[in-house]
């Protein structure tokens, strides 16, 4: 955005500014006031860096304490017995559950969110789209614990029918077989996470689609494109990197979500082949559920698993950034 062209009503600069003073001012740090102010603001920035470094250092330190005592293999052990001597725990189950639930959530949420964003920007009547966008904006602010409560008390009972149906028709795949237990399994978790991240992805995608320059859409229309073809030719390509970063934002939320998973999932420390059988766990959920009874050793182990979660979210964010950077050449920014 070009700031300099935004306003014309600023008072014109005085014809002969004191050039020497203006220069020294723009470098800051000549008067006491400037020095203090620069110090405070730069200090805040540095403090932020210190906090980030401290997070990495202290998590790593406590995690290393735990892992050094771990009798099992931290990456592959299928149990979480931190109160034994020697303790034996590993994150394989958590990594599996976290990734599976997030994949389900993304697979459901991203297409629907993109469709809703298109609906709001290109399909809905204008009178409808404004208020709906506003409401979706507000829904993005609903605390995750409320989604968790709703998921556990409303969504879970309503999943019975879907589970039975999936079992009847797709049970033979193994992934969708169901033994009739309470539907507090990975599929429900994934669906709930999808519902949670839907408003976030929708909001960001909508903003992106709204910024598609009208002239690109008109170019497509003038070639004789239908509305869908306009979307395919002009809107989606232009918005692709924005949608990717929106999705990554949602993925970050899904990976680290604690309460919505903790309330809905009926955890067990193993991997279920079927998405419909209760069991498994995620990093965040495991921390929340095991924390209450954990000794200091147990807490260190949980910190170690949290560190892994942290690294995974960092990788996801990095990947998103890389994808967006690579698409720069074709972005509409220079058009």
């Amino acid at each position: 955005m070009d700031i300099s062209t935004q306003t014309t009503d600023a008072p014109p600069p005085t014809p002969e500014p004191d050039v020497a003073r203006l220069k020294s001012n723009s470098r800051g740090a000549t008067r006491p006031g400037d020095r203090i102010f620069l110090g405070l603001s730069r200090g805040s920035g540095i403090l932020l860096l210190v906090v980030m470094a401290a997070i990495a250092v202290f998590l790593t330190y406590r995690a290393s304490l735990a892992i050094s005592k771990d009798h099992g293999n931290f990456l592959t052990t299928f149990e979480w017995n931190t109160n034994l001597t020697p303790p034996s725990f590993g994150i394989a189950v958590l990594a599996f559950g976290t990734i599976v639930s997030s994949i389900i959530a993304m697979a459901l949420a991203v297409p629907v969110a993109v469709a809703i964003a298109l609906f709001l920007t290109h399909y809905a009547p204008r009178k409808l789209s404004g208020p709906i966008a506003y409401v979706i904006d507000l829904l993005a602010a609903v605390p995750s614990i409320v989604y968790g409560l709703w998921g556990a008390l409303i969504l879970v009972p309503h999943m019975q029918g879907l589970y039975g149906w999936l079992n009847d028709y797709l049970g033979w795949t193994g992934i969708f077989s169901w033994d009739g237990g309470a539907p507090r399994a990975m599929l429900t978790v994934g669906i709930l996470l999808a519902i949670m991240i839907l408003p976030i992805i929708t909001n960001v995608s909508r903003e992106v689609f709204r910024q598609v320059p009208r002239m690109h859409e008109e170019a497509a229309l003038a070639l004789g494109a239908t509305r869908w073809e306009v979307v395919r030719m002009a809107v989606l390509p232009f918005g692709r990197s924005g949608v990717i970063s929106a999705s990554m934002l949602g993925l970050g939320r899904a990976l680290g979500e604690t309460m919505a998973v903790a309330t809905v999932l009926s955890p067990s420390y193993d991997i279920q082949a079927s998405l419909l059988d209760p069991g498994g766990g995620t990093f965040a959920q495991n921390i929340a559920s095991k924390f209450g009874e954990a000794t200091e050793q147990g807490r260190d182990a949980l910190i170690a698993s949290g560190l892994v979660l942290f690294v995974i979210t960092l990788l996801v964010n990095g990947a998103a950034r890389a994808i967006i950077a690579r698409r720069k050449e074709y972005s509409g920014a220079n058009a």
Binding site: R126, P213, M215, H216, E218, A219, A220, L221, A222, L223, G224, A225, T226, E229, M233, A234, P237, F238, R240, E329, Y330, S331, G332, N334, A335
Partner: protein, 258 residues
């Protein structure tokens, strides 16, 4: 293949605001017709009613008839999408698709309709780029993004994209207003060549340009700000610029207002 346009009693609105009122004219095939007039007189709006782009603007609607070789663009059952395939358009600012390569930009309209073999597609793209006098400049970088070209080249790319689908009419909405004089000259030369194949309508702010490129010129004006624009007169370009029949036209072209 160029077609004649016959407009009668055309009025266009933005919501409740009447932008142009009761316009009738005939545009001959294989000729260049220029629309001139002061800002806000509705000449661009009128241009956009000729391929039903006006109704894309929220609140935009049209009354009256636009016949394309005896067929009313606004008749019942007429599909605006088909209209825009027959009547191509080039916009004020060059607008190649930023996410597509030069090749893909030219092929964009073709891909919408049916499938072409790779070789057919290449032939049409080459022919269109040659038709737009751009081929020699881009033949080595067809796979580079179109947004990397200069403004004048981008505009010729947009013209190539528009003529690739073989429209009957080509509308140009101030195609040179964002370009430097040399690029403008290139486009004007191109217009002279394209009129052998298409019916061309061009909106321009630049009266010298209208005089240079057009066969006939239409002068639009509005009686006051907020009033709808009207067609004052349309005649052979030579006559308009030498001896117009209406005083307002003479005032405008001699620079007395506007």
């Amino acid at each position: 293949m160029a077609k004649r346009i016959d407009v009668s009693g055309l009025t266009a609105y933005y919501g409740s605001h009447k932008a142009i009122e009761d316009i009738s004219m005939t545009v001959e095939p294989r000729s260049v017709t220029a629309f001139i007039g002061p800002s806000g007189c509705g000449k661009s709006t009128f241009l956009r009613t000729l391929n039903r782009m006006h109704e894309v603007t929220p609140g935009g609607r049209v009354e009256g008839k636009v016949l394309l070789d005896d067929e009313d663009l606004y008749g019942t059952g007429v599909d605006p999408v088909s209209v825009r395939r027959e009547v191509g358009m080039v916009f004020q600012r060059p607008n190649p698709f930023p996410t597509m390569s030069i090749f893909e930009n030219v092929a964009a309209g073709l891909r919408l309709n049916g499938s072409y073999k790779k070789s057919e597609l290449s032939d049409i793209v080459e022919k269109s780029l040659k038709g737009a006098n751009l081929w020699n400049e881009v033949k080595d970088r067809l796979n580079k993004p179109g947004s990397g070209l200069s403004g004048g080249q981008q505009q010729r790319l947009c013209i190539a994209r528009a003529i690739a689908v073989e429209p009957k009419v080509l509308l140009m909405d101030e195609p040179c207003s964002a370009l430097d004089p040399i690029s403008t000259l290139a486009i004007e030369d191109l217009i002279g060549e394209l009129k052998e194949r298409f019916t061309i309508v061009i909106v321009t702010h630049n009266m010298q340009q209208a005089a240079r490129v057009s066969d006939r010129t239409a002068f639009f004006n509005l009686s006051a700000v907020g009033q709808p624009g009207r067609l004052i007169e349309i005649d052979d370009t030579e006559r308009i610029f030498s001896n117009p029949s209406v005083q307002a036209t003479e005032d405008y072209i001699s620079g007395r207002f506007g």
